[in-house]
Symmetry: C2
Subunit: 397 residues, 2 copies
């Protein structure tokens, strides 16, 4: 019994890298039981990062795979695929990020699985929706960043397309997949029926980007260019102070006027360029210039004190390393330290969302490759002899 | 009857700008009924973008507020707050992004509302968790980007902190809020009880960033520096070809070796730097250099054909404008055109996720400020006279 909102939900997870693992980590963190099914070599994320203490246990893998158990099955062998299907027959949710054509060949598509488990929620995370011409093309995160306009926002802001230095489209699509599974679980309680969900990365991210940047092209014919000019300004960044950086965001009139007072430019309160949110949007470049010039005159700490008194939204800038010691994160118990059974002491983030109705209590360490193979097969009704045979043939490992 | 997975779920939405509106748009797109409660001036997002056809109806507002109805209430007046509480008493979900201290002062915190509606799911989206020292500080998206390490990833990649040119932390936190509400709705079906959820932007984004970039600091003491060096490489970007850009991502051994063949460098297959995923990770800078040099030699279209044949993951680069004509997006019906009752013909994105168990069918246009005030009050049991009195006093508008 986990105590989280998804307590009792059993998930079979045939995913790798980030998009699927963050989907199922989210479900696991909120109380679901997740069985991570790995091919004999294991999830490639086990290897795709520096600084591990032992092989196949990268920090990144550990972060994305806590609260799961691992079983290794070779689904190219009949006994391996049969075991996977036996697991799915007992599951509430099956998640994969396998290309649809391959999934169907293996008999793991919804139509093949639903007869044996009509309450199954089948979530297929795909790079591209199956109804379009890119369906079944392989893709990783940067390809989706390149196609979906994420890189395009940098082209407009700084003159060259760049990626966000995170596996951002995987990560967001994974959060949307977990969201969609939650909605389907809710509906299943109402109807008694499972269903299949398709979550395409490209469409998900194109929706993300264009919700923000259709801009005047929301209208047909367009009333002006695509893009939200404020966000695409070259000065949309933490701005330099005398000793570092600061971010200030005076948005509504009260905040904007308090900001002008705070920087000693009260005359700007009557400047028509800054009179309303729309006029400040229209004159975003000028508004940023005022900020750039003013903020360079004092230290970050001085400014933060001034803006706090004036109730102007402002905050410091944290490097990646600063996060490890951020005082607010420390207050809320964001960082936890666990003793991993094989990897030693590790740093773990808290689940950020608080459910007052109860949270997952026990923390499972990220599994070593196939750590629970025998245990999971036994739970599925395999005898010790059958398990031994599978281990010997390599159908399980 | 909407037909979506959240059909029948009634949401009262006291949110503004992006983080709350994307939460409730997500719920609405999936079938929930959403009542957007606005202060007399309206959601500031109505004004924060260029290119509108009429005041208070920016493209960005329209994109984030489809499928909702709008009621204007002045909750500083007793009749206004009473009407809001009457609506919440009939709701499944109440979402706000008001600072917690102000929410409690207005009697809109969970403890005040739950006695009148024990099945209520109360979702408070906050900038900072209430248990930490930044609680109740005001913040907008860039402040969270600045604090949470998003800007810090650019510092490491290109030498200066920058923001992602999107309201990214609002947008992601909103998706997580909708996800959390789905999980709570599922649990409510099991237990019969509502609950309160707190979704803090800073913690949510710190978790997002550090899941990817704790790196060798996942271990305590750290086995090396924070950060995933591959993603932080200056060459982690769409790479120039003879006539544009391309993104290629040969990740596993088969893909990497096929890539070396495709660029005419088969000798690299036996180079120990590129022999395994971990060695390629370790020599990421060299691996990127090989890509930079090779890709500059041919046109994008030639490369795409070559990589498609070799089954090497690759894709073109789309500008924001290219997205409006992307052939795959056209295939999947991503772009729809609606006749908005007051704004004319507008472009609308399809909900990217497909639920085979049924999707929301009707599309409601993004509402003009207070467009459904009288209708919603009438549904809540207010008489025509009572409504007229409220409109006259300004408690409603």
């Amino acid at each position: 019994m986990s105590g989280g909102p998804l307590e009792g939900v059993r998930v079979v997870d045939l995913t790798t890298v980030v998009v699927g693992p963050i989907t199922t980590r989210t479900l696991a963190d909120q109380g679901a039981e997740v069985i991570k099914v790995e091919a004999p070599g294991g999830d490639i994320l086990r290897y795709l990062a520096a600084g591990s203490r032992s092989p196949a246990m990268s920090g990144k893998f550990i972060n994305f795979n806590r609260n799961k158990r691992s079983i290794v099955l070779d689904i190219k062998q009949p006994a391996g695929i049969a075991a996977l299907k036996a697991l799915i027959a007992t599951a509430d949710v099956f998640v994969s990020n396998v290309r649809p054509a391959a999934l169907t060949r293996a008999g793991l598509d919804y139509a093949s699985l639903a007869p044996g488990n009509p309450r199954l929620i089948h979530c297929g995370i795909v790079a591209f929706g199956t109804d379009g011409r890119y369906a079944n093309r392989p893709a990783y995160d940067p390809i989706i960043q390149s196609l979906s306009g994420v890189a395009g926002t940098f082209d407009r802001a700084i003159g060259e397309p760049r990626f966000v230095p995170m596996v951002m489209t995987d990560h967001i699509t994974g959060l949307v997949s977990a969201q969609s599974i939650g909605f389907a679980l809710y509906r299943r309680e109402k109807t008694g029926h499972g269903e299949s969900i398709e979550v395409p990365m490209f469409e998900t991210m194109a929706s993300f980007v264009t919700s923000e940047h259709l801009g005047a092209a929301t209208f047909d014919p367009p009333e002006g260019p695509t893009g939200d000019a404020r966000l695409l300004s070259p000065d949309y960044r933490p701005l330099p102070t005398l000793d570092g950086y600061i971010t200030v965001r005076p948005n509504d009139n009260r905040q904007a006027f308090a900001f002008f007072e705070a920087i000693g430019r009260p005359e700007l309160k009557s400047d028509p360029r800054y009179a309303t949110p729309s006029s400040r949007t229209q004159h975003a470049a000028d508004y940023f210039s005022v900020q750039v010039e003013a903020l360079a005159q004092k230290n970050t700490a001085e400014w933060l004190e001034i803006f706090a008194k004036a109730d102007v939204p402002a905050g410091p800038y944290n490097t990646l390393d600063d996060l490890l010691d951020d005082p607010h994160l420390n207050d809320v118990g964001f960082w936890n330290f666990d003793e991993h059974p094989t990897e030693g002491r590790i740093r773990r983030t808290r689940t950020p969302v608080t459910f007052r109705g109860g949270m997952r209590e026990e923390v499972l360490p990220a599994p070593r490759l196939g750590a629970q193979t025998a245990e999971i097969l036994a739970e599925a009704g395999y005898t010790a002899d059958e398990i031994a045979t599978m281990l010997q043939s390599g159908a399980a490992a």
